[in-house]
Amino acid sequence: MSRNIKNFIVTIVLSALLSLVLPWWSIMIGTLLSALFIPLKKAAVFFIPFLAILLFWGVYCFMLSNANDFVLAKKISTLLKIGGDPYLLILATGVIGGLASGVSAILGKLIGALIRNQ
């Protein structure tokens, strides 16, 4: 299994587990840890966890919202002025999660590098 796929899976699993006990920033800790122990290279450092959390949150949101006919997602989408489209809100949520975890992964990679250099 490539390192990228390994990191991708571990990021999701760790974040999901941590989310049971921590607030929303559990994903930032999850990606930091997986970046620490499964370091990636170049742009993948950011983009693999970015995609992992985008997928994780996106699917999770879809499942919650789909079960309720997207009633609230449409309203929140109107509230945030993105046109009342629930899918756009799901995407936006995923991107926000992805962004948070991407920068967190970069931090994890840096910490990992510092530790290894000592």
Binding site: W24, W25, N68, L72, L89, T93, A100, V103, L107
Partner: protein, 798 residues
């Protein structure tokens, strides 16, 4: 590292109006967790319950509560209200207490100061103190309700908080009996704090006594009062307070505190068995309040083995407010009595004393700490006299160093209002209804009543000062003891009627009584149209059915327009109208005075009369002092009977002297011009589009959580009193079969969660004039109309 924490901070912090996006949107604890309907099954542990409580839900999401005793019942009511309406429940008491700055920051400070200076918290404290001292049993029930609310709050994790908490980034706090007292103060403010004493004082100075009496008569030339005119008052043996030597204080007041919506009012009526098509009395109620989401009402069935009540509750208050039980039905309209008076206070040098009866009396100080989100708290010292709080002084809307205006308001007198509803829920007959009402001080209400025994009645209940003729119309000198409220009208002499000969009782915020009632009743903005339509209807035939009641609730007849339009059309000179104006003129001519959704007449009337009113009372259009212009009825009366009075003249046009006839034409032309613009903008000016009725979310009608363009007719001063954002907030019809059969609907839904399909699901049927049958269960057995059952049980160790 900085970038990571920067992103974290940005996503976790509320910035301006934007919620903290990470916290708000994440699927674990953000709004996605609110994307659900409410649970209606399972077993829930509520600490402190004595026995098991069964809660059945019907398909309208109405909870039917079966408790074994009243303590458990009100605990369950608190719990269930919080479960469905937590944010609204709490937000209303923040608004009542003047605590909105805690949520919104400095922008709300002026609002908060006004509420503190009005003495909202002070009044709530008086209410709690009274209850603790005089009725510990009721206080215990209020505490039970609080325990129920708190049981719900304590079960919540942050992901379960209602959407609004996430949006505004704050958390629910514990509930307490004081919050129930604050809610009752909020209702009192909404319904009994719209006095115009200070405005009238300015008007009096501006126009003189003779003109004032012409513009603001104590009684209009027609009266169709709540208590029928032929009522015999000879049983009253306590006289009205004698008139002292007195002069109004002619101060100039530039700005006054915000008043509640003058449209807050209601209809209720009941017909006797003899006047009912089925032989059973029938009762109806529809309170007219702001159309908000979540709705002001939450419908419940509340029962113990000793009683079984059903109807509309207000989140925060115990028991059914407008509803019925197995024996009686009741409902309220606002009695609109003047229970707020103002006194000019003269202070000593350091404002520690004020002048009274030729001596100096001590001022007491209540320091109000107003917490502000993200800032240091604001401390406001409010000075109190024996009259009440000095609302206006040099620190608030006044520049006078050594004087102020104190407010005497019945809302500050304490009382046991909660007891009235708790007792009404259990009342079995007329006597028990009357005894329940005795505890009610404010806001004064017209309590309509019908029983399965066949009685109908209406009591105007409140605590009313026995005033001398004219007392409290204007600002009074606070140092003269004769200006104090001398005594109260004994409760048994409050105006009422039982089984009147005409076979029906009704009220629609009109004059409570005619001139023959032996106490002073000042016209404090009484309604003069809905009452006449309702009473004419009930005088129009022998028998009435539930279908007739529905028709009357939905009656769109515009009596006001019908009393002026024909006169204007006949009087004004229409010979020089342009072609466009002629079209509007003909449309108006064809109108039959019904405010139905597809008519254009109501829109023309609104434009025309609105402009006419402003042109006529241009004398009152003054930014530098607070004024009140005359009421509609007197306005129309003067237009028709004194068309050449000097008030008709437009002040600005120095070289011409306008009469009513001129004003009709001028305002018509302006109206036609504006209507043409509206047609350009919107395509037409049919009433539904013109009016654009909406139910706005409590957060300033946040569009995402509100409903717009609701297709419904009516308007203010019409029985179907639906204007833009105001109207029949709960329509109920109860036929006194045994047990009663009832219909009810309100413009909202049982859920406070915008993510629930039960949030606004009643609105379409409400707008269409439809009703829902209320499922009045006679036992806790499940039927096929029950969609889910929840059991509330005591904690395991109890």
């Amino acid at each position: 590292m900085v970038l990571t924490f920067g992103i974290f901070y940005a996503l976790n912090t509320k910035m301006g109006a934007i919620p903290p996006l990470g916290k708000f949107l994440n699927p674990h604890s953000g709004v996605w967790q609110n994307e659900t309907n409410e649970s209606t099954s399972g077993e829930i542990i509520i600490p402190g319950l004595k026995e098991k409580v069964t809660v059945h839900y019907d398909e309208q999401m109405i909870p039917h509560v079966f408790a074994q005793n009243e303590h458990d019942l009100y605990k369950a009511q608190g719990y269930l209200t919080a479960k469905h309406r937590l944010w609204q429940l709490e937000f209303q008491t923040y608004a009542a207490a003047g605590r909105l700055s805690e949520i919104f920051g400095k922008g709300a400070l002026n609002y908060d100061r006004t509420e503190r200076r009005r003495g909202m918290g002070y009044g709530a404290d008086q209410g709690i103190a009274y209850m603790k001292k005089h009725d510990p049993e009721t206080f215990r029930l209020v505490q039970d309700y609080a325990d129920g609310v708190n049981a719900y709050i304590n079960q919540l994790n942050p992901e379960d908080y209602p959407v609004e908490y996430k949006l505004l980034d704050y958390e629910p706090e514990a509930w307490s009996p004081k919050k129930t007292a604050l809610l009752l103060m909020y209702m009192t403010k909404m319904l009994a704090a719209r006095d115009k004493d200070l405005e009238y004082t300015n008007v009096l100075r501006l126009v003189g006594k003779e003109n004032f009496d012409l513009l603001f008569p104590d009684f209009f030339d027609i009266t169709d009062p709540v208590i029928p005119k032929e009522t015999d008052w000879s049983f009253i043996d306590v006289p009205q307070t004698e008139l002292p030597q007195n002069y109004a204080v002619l101060d100039t007041i530039t700005e006054t505190i915000e008043k509640p919506n003058p449209d807050n009012g209601s209809n209720n009526w009941a017909v006797s068995g003899a006047k009912s098509a089925t032989g059973n009395p029938i009762l109806a109620n529809d309170p007219h309040l702001g159309l908000n989401l979540p709705s002001i009402w939450f419908v419940m069935q509340l029962s113990t083995p000793q009683h079984n009540a059903f109807g509309a509750t207000i989140p925060g208050a115990l028991a059914i407010v407008s509803g019925f039980n197995q024996h009686i039905a009741w409902g309220e309209t606002n009695a609109t009595r003047d229970v707020t008076d103002w006194y000019k206070i003269e202070f000593n040098q350091d404002r520690s004393k004020y002048k009274y009866d030729g001596a100096w009396k001590d001022v007491s100080v209540r320091v109000e700490e107003i917490k502000i989100k993200g800032q240091k708290a604001f401390l406001d010292s409010v000075l109190y006299t024996h009259h009440g709080p000095v609302v206006y002084e040099k620190n608030f809307k006044s520049e006078n160093e050594r004087a102020g205006y104190a407010m005497r308001w019945i809302g500050h007198d304490g009382g046991n209002h909660q007891k009235t509803f708790i007792a009404l829920n259990k009342a079995k007959n007329y006597d028990e209804y009357v005894s329940a009402l005795q505890h009610w001080n404010a806001p004064a209400q017209n309590f309509v009543f019908a029983s399965t025994e066949g009685d109908i009645a209406l009591w105007i209940q409140g605590k009313f000062a026995n005033k001398w003729e004219g007392q409290g119309k204007f600002l009074m000198d606070g140092s003269n003891p004769a200006n104090d409220w001398q005594s109260f009208i004994p409760q048994k002499f409050n105006a009422h009627t039982k089984n009147p000969e005409r076979g029906f009782v009704s009220s629609a915020n009109q004059h409570p009584v005619d001139e023959n009632y032996p106490y002073y009743v000042f016209n404090d903005g009484y309604e003069t149209y809905r009452n006449r339509v309702i009473n004419d209807y009930f005088n129009s035939k022998e028998k009435f059915s539930v279908e007739d009641f529905k028709a009357l609730h939905n009656n769109n007849y515009n009596l006001k327009a019908s009393e002026l339009v024909p006169y204007m059309m006949a009087t004004m000179d229409a010979s020089n109208l342009t072609n466009e104006e002629k079209i509007v003129y003909d449309e108006m001519k064809a109108w039959k005075f019904n405010n139905d959704i597809d008519e254009v007449g109501p829109s023309i009337w609104r434009q025309w009369y609105g402009r006419l009113y402003n042109m006529l009372w241009d004398e009152f259009d003054n930014d530098s002092i607070a004024l009140a212009a005359p009421y509609t009825y007197q306005t129309i009366h003067l237009l028709k009977t004194q068309g050449d009075h000097k008030f008709m003249d437009i002040v600005k046009t120095k070289d011409t002297t306008e009469t009513a006839k001129d004003l009709f034409l001028l305002s018509f032309k302006k109206a036609a011009e504006r209507l043409a613009e509206i047609k350009e903008e919107k395509g037409d000016y049919k009433w539904a589009n013109y009016k654009g009725t909406y139910a706005g979310h409590l957060l300033q009608a946040l569009p995402a959580f509100s409903r717009f363009d609701i297709p419904i007719g009516g308007d203010r001063n019409i029985v179907n009193a639906t204007s833009e954002n105001h109207g029949p907030s709960w329509r109920m019809i109860v036929e006194m079969t045994s047990p009663p059969t009832a219909l009810g609907i309100y413009p909202g839904g049982q859920s406070g969660n915008p993510g629930s399909k039960y949030y606004d699901n009643f609105i379409d049927d409400w707008a269409a004039g439809k009703y829902h049958s209320l499922l009045f269960l006679q036992s806790d057995k499940t039927t096929d109309q029950i969609i889910g059952t929840q059991t509330l049980t005591p904690g395991k160790n109890e």
